[in-house]
Amino acid sequence: MRLFEEALGALGISQDVVNGGAKVVVMTGVCACLENVKGITLLTAEQVNVKTRGGEVRIYGKGLVVARYGLGDLWLTGKIDKVELGEVAQ
C-alpha cells in the first residue's frame, strides 16, 4: 500500500488524519485488498459487504472468498465485478 502513502503525501494530507478510512485496492478480476476493516456484514459468493469506520464497502462478483482476514486487513479473492462505497445499511 505504498501507493496510498505517496498519494496522500502528494495531496499534503497526513496519514494520521485519514487513518481509519477505507483503503481498497482492486486487481481486476483477481482479488481485492482492503485495509482498516471493522467487520464483515455480508458474505456470499456473489457479494461481500465490509464495514469500515467511515461507512461500508460493497464488493460484487463471482466466487468471492475471504482468503485472509485479520488485524484490520482483508484479502478477498474471486472475480470482482464492482465495488461500491456507501453508508452502512441499517
Binding site: V65, A67, R68, G70
Partner: protein
C-alpha cells in the same frame, strides 16, 4: 496465502459473521472463509492458534468444531498413521545424510589438473580417499601440501554431497626460456666475421677455431677488472672446409652432380667453392671425393636462426 500448518474449523450460529469479528478482535487471523450453509462458516486458522479458538468461544452461543487439518500438518498426520512409511522415509533420509559423510568420488579440476595423481596421493596419505569418512582437518593438511607443488598458486577443496572437488590452479606466469649465454663455434674453420653486441669476444677475425670453441663469452669485465656474468648477444660467420666421399657404379655427369649436391647438403652451410675428384675403384665403379669450402653463420640471442647444422 495459506499457512503451512493449519486447522479447519466449522462455526455454527445464527449470525456466524459475528464470530469472525470476535476472532479478529482477539488477534486471530482467519484464512479461506467460506459459507458452507446458512448459519455455518468454514474457516482455517494456524495450528498454533487452534487452542485460542476454543478459548475465545468458550461459554458463548457459537458451536465450534474442528473438522480437520491441512497443509503440512495434514501430511504429517497422515504419515503418522502409516508408521512403516514414516520409518522408511526416515531411514532413507538418514542413509542419504550418512552418505554425505563419506567421500565416494574425488574430482581434480583447474589449470593444475595434471597434478591429479599427486593430489590423490597426498589426500590418501592424510586418510582422505574414496569410501572413507571425510575429515576436513586432514583434507586441509593435504591442501597445504598441494600448495607446495611446482607452480601451484591456489588449491581449494570443496565437498558437495559425497563428491570431493579439488581445484588446483597454476601460476599464469610463463617461465622464461633458458637463454644461451655464449656463442660457440659449431665447426672447425676460420673466423670470417664476428660481431658481439653483448659479451666478451674471445676470437678475432681471421683466427682459426675448432668446433666447440667459445667465440663470445657470456660475461663482461668492468674497468676495475671485475667479471660479471651475463649472456652474449653476437653473430659470427666461419669459413670451413670439408671432404666428402661418394661411390658410384660408373662415372657420369648425373653421378657427379649427385655427389656435389650430397656434399653441399651434408656440409650444412653456404657453399663457396666445390671441387670434385674422381678415382676408379679396384673392383668396379668410381669414388668421388668432394672438397667443399662453405660459410657457416652462427648467432646467439639475436632472435634469428643460424644456417648451421646443429
Amino acid at each position: 496465502m495459506k499457512p503451512l500448518f493449519f486447522d479447519v474449523f466449522e462455526i455454527r450460529a445464527s449470525v456466524p459473521l459475528r464470530a469472525l469479528d470476535k476472532l479478529v478482535a482477539a488477534g486471530v487471523t482467519v484464512h479461506s472463509v467460506e459459507k458452507c450453509a446458512a448459519g455455518c462458516l468454514k474457516i482455517r486458522v494456524k495450528s498454533k492458534e487452534s487452542k485460542k479458538i476454543f478459548a475465545i468461544f468458550r461459554g458463548s452461543c457459537y458451536t465450534v468444531k474442528r473438522i480437520g487439518s491441512g497443509g503440512w500438518k495434514r501430511r504429517a498426520e497422515r504419515l503418522l498413521h502409516r508408521p512403516a512409511l514414516a520409518i522408511g522415509l526416515l531411514a532413507f533420509f538418514l542413509t542419504a545424510a550418512a552418505g554425505n559423510l563419506f567421500v565416494l568420488r574425488i574430482d581434480v579440476v583447474g589449470s593444475g589438473a595434471r597434478y591429479r595423481e599427486q593430489s590423490l596421493q597426498l589426500l590418501n596419505e592424510q586418510g582422505v580417499h574414496t569410501f572413507s569418512l571425510y575429515d576436513a582437518q586432514a583434507a586441509e593438511r593435504a591442501r597445504e601440501q598441494m600448495l607446495l607443488l611446482d607452480d601451484v598458486v591456489f588449491v581449494s577443496l570443496e565437498k558437495s554431497g559425497s563428491v570431493l572437488t579439488v581445484t588446483i590452479e597454476q601460476s599464469a606466469q610463463i617461465p622464461l626460456p633458458s637463454r644461451e649465454t655464449e656463442l660457440v663455434s659449431p665447426c672447425d674453420g676460420v673466423v670470417e666475421e664476428l660481431t658481439a653486441l653483448r659479451g666478451t669476444p674471445l676470437a678475432a677475425e681471421g683466427a682459426h677455431v675448432s668446433a666447440g670453441d667459445v667465440l663470445v663469452g657470456g660475461w663482461l669485465e668492468t674497468q676495475a677488472g671485475e667479471r660479471i656474468d651475463t649472456f652474449a648477444v653476437a653473430r659470427a660467420s666461419i669459413l670451413c672446409e670439408g671432404t666428402f666421399s661418394y661411390a658410384a657404379s660408373e662415372d657420369s655427369d648425373a653421378a657427379r652432380q649427385r655427389a656435389r649436391m650430397a656434399a653441399i647438403f651434408s656440409c650444412g652451410g653456404e657453399p663457396l667453392e666445390c671441387r670434385l675428384e674422381c678415382a676408379p675403384q679396384q673392383q668396379s665403379g668410381v669414388l668421388y671425393t668432394v672438397q667443399i669450402t662453405y660459410r657457416v653463420r652462427v648467432s646467439v640471442n639475436l632472435g634469428e636462426k643460424a644456417d648451421v647444422r646443429s
